[in-house]
Amino acid sequence: MNLKDIVEALLFASPEPLTLPQLLSLVEDEGVDRPTLEKVLEELAEDYQTRPLELARVASGYRFQVRKHLAPWVSRLFPEKVGRYSRALLETIAIIAYRQPVTRGDIEAIRGVVVSSNIIRTLQEREWIRVVGHKEVPGRPALYATTKRFLDDFNLQTLEQLPPIQLEQDEQADPEFAPPSQTTH
């Protein structure tokens, strides 16, 4: 049996991305080692170079996805899911992503306006953020952090891949504003 065919079939049939260890355990009967598997994945990515699909590596593993330039047609399949978000929501998720874990108060302090409950709820329903704890201050406000799903949906493997924050008049990046280095939990 052709290992590449097996890996390709597994990646296509899996409802979720597959990590290297998951793939390894799925083909362990074949006596496949990690370097071999990695080579097969590279070859696969190569094979799909000219195809309407691509093999992507995101936080939760490898997955096939439809290439960006086909979005105008493919998005017609999901008329109800418009991927547009308000600036308020984007600013909120940006602050959570770069500054996590943060409370609602922290977000409000930066944005200078109240964060609507709707935005927090939308982000939670989208499974982009979750409560990772409570700050030990009066009221014990929830601390929000981003999820693996957030990284997956933004085609990222780790938070470090977030665009670095840079300002026109800042000659050099403020080290304080590098994205947090730990990957999401």
Binding site: A56, A71, L90, D152, F154, I165, F177
Partner: protein, 279 residues
């Protein structure tokens, strides 16, 4: 708060060295409604919409005012921008347009900064006391970083907007569902608990019945369903012996008592027939 009065404070412009434009435009005191700040060409009645939908809050509006003048967020421009911001707020107030609290709060902060800047600074404490503008500048820079980050994040290829997951049918043969196995002990324990509960509930003993009798009742009923009427004798088997006959007979009696079967005899001494009650 009395905003018109705040706005009416006449402040000499703070030496605008890098200023490429002339002094503040709008003179609120005289004709506030005709002379709109020249950086924003917004009809007054659209201001509220603009503030609510275009700007993400007072920091965003301040940033806009600064950028519009092509200025860096520098201390020197704060006074200028402050003035313009306050003019807007005053305008809104005069037009009796309701403003989000955050805008008013910022107006108060800016007014405070202005008034503090007017106070002569004692030479001694100059180094220690923080410039009231510094904190605002820090917040503006901080906010701008995230505003920009949000814009950049929005540019990232995103699932369900730019890219889409693939669905491929695994086309696996249908497997019969794997059913949990139950041990006979678990079954007995379940029944014991039911009885225990029932006896506690009802304050009387739910007596156990002869299983063999209950089973025979089921078997007789099942046989009747298949064959309709059966002869009384056919229910008894030699191989079961006396004990078996007793069980069968008790089962029949129980079935009769519960009205589940009818025993028929077409004429005296003729064979008994057992059948399900006529529906």
């Amino acid at each position: 708060m009395s905003h018109p009065s705040i706005a009416e404070i006449k402040i000499p412009p703070v030496t605008p060295q890098t200023e490429n434009q002339s002094a503040p435009v709008a003179r609120l005191h005289g004709s506030p409604f005709t002379e709109l700040p020249d950086n924003l060409y917004i009809p007054p009645d659209a201001l509220q919409v603009i503030l609510e939908e275009t700007f993400e809050g007072p920091l965003d509006l301040l940033l806009y005012l600064i950028r519009k003048r092509n200025l860096d967020i520098m201390l020197v421009s704060i006074a200028e921008v402050t003035e313009q911001y306050l003019e807007y707020i005053a305008l809104m107030e005069n037009l009796k347009i309701e403003l989000a609290a955050e805008y008013l709060l910022m107006a108060a902060l800016l007014a405070e900064i202005k008034s503090r800047l007017l106070l002569p600074k004692p030479k001694e404490s100059e180094g220690e006391e923080e410039d009231p503008r510094a904190e605002l500048v820090r917040r503006l820079k901080e906010y701008e970083k995230f505003k920009q980050a949000a814009a950049e994040m929005d540019e990232l290829p995103r699932m369900l907007r730019d890219q889409f997951p693939v669905y491929v049918d695994p086309d696996l043969p249908r497997r019969p569902p794997k059913l949990p196995q139950v041990t006979v002990e678990a079954l007995a324990e379940a029944f014991r608990q039911v009885l225990q509960r029932a006896s506690q509930l009802q304050h009387h003993t739910v007596a156990r019945e002869r299983l063999s009798v209950r089973e025979r009742m089921s078997r007789i009923l099942a046989g009747l369903q298949e064959n309709g009427t059966v002869a009384f004798e056919s229910l008894f088997s030699q191989t079961e012996g006396r004990a078996g006959a007793v069980v069968t007979f008790l089962a029949l009696l129980e079935l009769c008592k519960e009205g589940l079967v009818e025993v028929l005899q077409t004429e005296p001494l003729s064979p008994l027939q057992i059948q399900l009650p006529a529906g």
